[in-house]
């Protein structure tokens, strides 16, 4: 049972999807426009936002940026254009995952649950580890840098936990897609690249010369060595 905010302008999609997600046990509030969505977002205290990108008035990208600016609530975007550029812009605006319409509600439900699971405390290591000025607390699911808390979306946090869980070891994009995004199919590695970029922006002193999360050309990413 999680509070979901659905922002979708098409009436039939909004009604049917809200109902279907409700059947999967979610408490769904829905809005037909970005403006209305942002208002509801504050009232409803949503734990996750399902956001259509093509909206009249304020578009989905802008809504995405505003929600991201306000906090770390995860966002799953719905795109109907099937355009690569939509996906890339959506991810850059701060979305955690995306699905292309048409998609069965059970797939969206699976994606929602996967995204929410990322924020759950780590079962494996309930420990606190410090890497230079970066401290990762797996029990409280918090990250601090120079003593200041770093606000992270569940996706960013899980990605950091996966990478720092095996320091010095290279993880391929596909591995990360499966472990962080729980994509069982051969998914879109742009999710990983975009997640890494956002993570670097938050924890690296200079994101252009990363220390913590390093690119291993042609293979994937590696945490450290710090």
């Amino acid at each position: 049972m999680s509070r979901i905010l659905l922002i979708e302008d098409d009436h039939s999609v909004r009604i049917s999807l809200a109902k279907a997600l409700g059947r999967y046990g979610h408490d769904v509030a829905s809005a037909p426009s970005g403006e209305e969505g942002l208002r509801l977002y504050r009232e409803h205290a949503a734990e996750l936002v399902v956001l259509d990108l093509m909206l009249p008035g304020m578009d989905g990208f802008e809504v995405c940026r505003r929600i991201r600016a306000a906090g770390t609530v995860p966002i799953v975007m719905l795109t109907a254009r099937g355009d690569d550029i939509d996906v890339v812009s959506g991810l850059e605006s701060g979305a955690d995952d995306y699905v292309v319409k048409p998609v069965e509600p059970r797939v969206i439900d699976a994606r929602i649950r996967a995204v929410l699971r990322r924020g759950a405390p780590d079962r494996a290591g309930r420990s606190r580890a410090a890497y230079g000025d970066l401290v990762i607390d797996r029990a409280s699911m918090t990250v601090t840098r120079d003593g200041d808390a770093v606000a992270m979306t569940p996706t960013e946090l899980r990605l950091l936990l996966e990478l720092s869980g095996s320091p010095g070891q290279v993880l391929s994009r596909q591995q990360l897609l499966e472990s962080v995004w729980e994509h069982s199919y051969l998914g879109d590695s742009r999710l990983v690249d975009n997640g890494v970029q956002r993570l670097r922006a938050k924890i690296e002193a200079d994101p252009a010369a990363p220390v913590f999360i390093q690119t291993v050309r042609g293979f994937g990413y590696r945490f450290g060595p710090v």
């Binding site: 999609v13 999807l17 109907a80 069965e104 199919y185």
Partner: protein, 492 residues
């Protein structure tokens, strides 16, 4: 081609070298011809002048000395006459001869005969080891009282060396040769200057043509002067402008097509999304309904799914056609990707993966996945299990071979037609799970990778589809968005 290149080995490849060589050759031929013509003319006039002067001198001498000769002469008077004529001369009168000098051997019988025949003055040029000589011969004539002249029988021969003249000529030859040799560096220098001024516009043209070929369609030349090269420059500019216009038009049209596909995509996917949501709920509630309603619901759910699939394939193909698809190559193990394709679609029962060593290749994972899924899906629908999937490297390519155990390819149909749009393998089968676009999508994706896909019957019945993609292991380009910092990291 080989023969020609061998035959023309002496002819340099570079235009500059050819221009220089041609210019120098022309300059040298002209210099040599002019010098030679001048030399020949000067030499002729010098020889003529020398000869005329010698002949005049001897003639004067004879006409001055002749009246003093007693007639008929005796040996003494012949000697006197000979002494007056100087060294290398000879005077004869019937049996008597007065001669002195070493060059008298040059007097030929021919000359003697000519004098005997009554020639008034004969001249012959003779060359021996000491150089060229002029041999002159004249009879002394007696003038009678009535003014008539008759031969006295006294013959005078004088030999004169031409060595000084020859020395002069040799000097001239040296000057001419030196002039020609001296003209060579000058000609080369001029040729360099000329070739530079001629070739600079050509080089500019070549540079601009390269720019154009690299896609800088705004490239233009500044025409200078009014020569043929200036014409060429303005022709080049016209061509570039025309190219830019038509490419611009094509790009606009392509952009329109892409926009259209994106719009159609949105218009089609949105109602399908609603339909899919509704169908899922109807399906979930089906157990509360009558068997007839349940059947209808199942049918509607199935058709909706098929419609969604068809729309997906149609839009994918339209996007590919509109050029709205960008390849995102990534270095992956193709064996692993293909195994995932089969596993994630739940096909493990009907499909046998032939064990293989990893085959790394730089491919777009999503497109490879779609392509292989379409081939395997097609084999499962139209062939019979087990479907064997094999991945192997061959030269610079990676091959994904999908073999089924069905009846093989339809008879009388060219295998290429199978990759056409909406081609259905079996005309009698009206219903099929496939959209009829799967193989077409595989073909377009293969071509997008610079590869290909083909179909034929396998050796032990069944159809065999082979997807061939270049591995591109040498390519540096990858999809790392932060690729620029990799080199820095490598140093750490």
């Amino acid at each position: 081609m080989r023969v020609e290149s061998t035959a023309r080995r002496w002819w340099p490849r570079s235009l500059r070298a050819r221009v220089i060589l041609a210019f120098v050759a022309v300059a040298m031929v002209a210099a040599t011809a002019a010098s030679a013509a001048g030399y020949i003319a000067a030499r002729a006039s010098l020889v003529e002048e020398t000869q005329r002067r010698a002949v005049d001198a001897v003639r004067d001498q004879i006409s001055r000395l002749a009246p003093e000769v007693e007639y008929p002469p005796d040996q003494q008077s012949l000697d006197r006459l000979r002494i007056s004529l100087g060294e290398d001369s000879m005077v004869t009168y019937e049996g008597l001869t007065a001669a002195s000098g070493g060059a008298l051997g040059l007097i030929s019988d021919e000359l003697r005969a000519a004098v005997a025949d009554g020639d008034r003055f004969s001249v012959q040029r003779v060359v021996d080891e000491s150089g060229p000589h002029l041999v002159m011969a004249a009879p002394i004539l007696l003038t009678s009282v009535d003014g008539g002249q008759r031969a006295s029988g006294i013959e005078v021969y004088v030999v004169q060396g031409l060595t000084p003249t020859q020395a002069q000529l040799d000097q001239w030859t040296r000057v001419v040769v030196l002039t020609i040799v001296g003209a060579l560096p000058l000609a080369v220098l001029l040729a360099l200057l000329v070739s530079r001024s001629v070739l600079r516009p050509v080089q500019r043209l070549a540079h601009s043509a390269n720019q154009l070929a690299e896609g800088n369609l705004g490239t233009r030349l500044t025409p200078s002067g009014r020569d043929e090269l200036a014409d060429l420059a303005s022709t080049f500019n016209d061509t570039a402008a025309a190219l830019e216009r038509s490419v611009g038009k094509l790009r606009d049209r392509e952009a329109d097509a892409r926009r259209f596909v994106a719009d159609v995509s949105h218009e089609l996917r949105t109602p399908l999304m609603a339909l899919t949501s509704i169908m899922e709920m109807l399906d979930a509630d089906a157990r509360d309904r009558s068997p007839e309603e349940r059947e209808m619901t199942t049918m509607a759910v199935d058709r909706t799914r098929k419609l969604a699939r068809l729309a997906e394939d149609l839009l994918e193909l339209s996007r590919l056609d509109a050029g709205a698809v960008e390849l995102r190559p990534e270095l992956v193990d193709v064996v692993h990707v293909v195994a995932d394709t089969v596993r994630t679609r739940g096909w493990t029962d009907g499909v046998v993966l032939v064990p293989a060593e990893p085959v790394p290749a730089r491919v777009d994972v999503r497109r490879l996945d779609i392509s292989v899924a379409n081939l395997v899906g097609n084999a499962l629908r139209h062939g019979s299990p087990p479907v064997a999937v094999e991945v192997r490297a061959e030269a610079d390519d990676v091959l994904v071979v999908v073999t089924d155990h069905g009846p093989g390819l339809p008879e009388g149909v060219a295998p290429d037609r199978l990759f056409g749009r909406f081609y259905k393998g079996d005309p009698s089968r009206t219903r099929s799970d496939g959209s009829g676009l799967g193989l077409a999508i595989t073909l377009v994706n293969a071509r997008l990778h610079g590869g290909d896909v083909s179909a034929r019957d396998s050796d032990d019945a069944g159809a065999r589809f082979v997807l061939r993609l270049p591995r591109r292991l040498d390519d540096e380009a990858d999809i790392d968005e932060d690729a620029g910092i990799d080199d820095d990291e490598a140093g750490r």
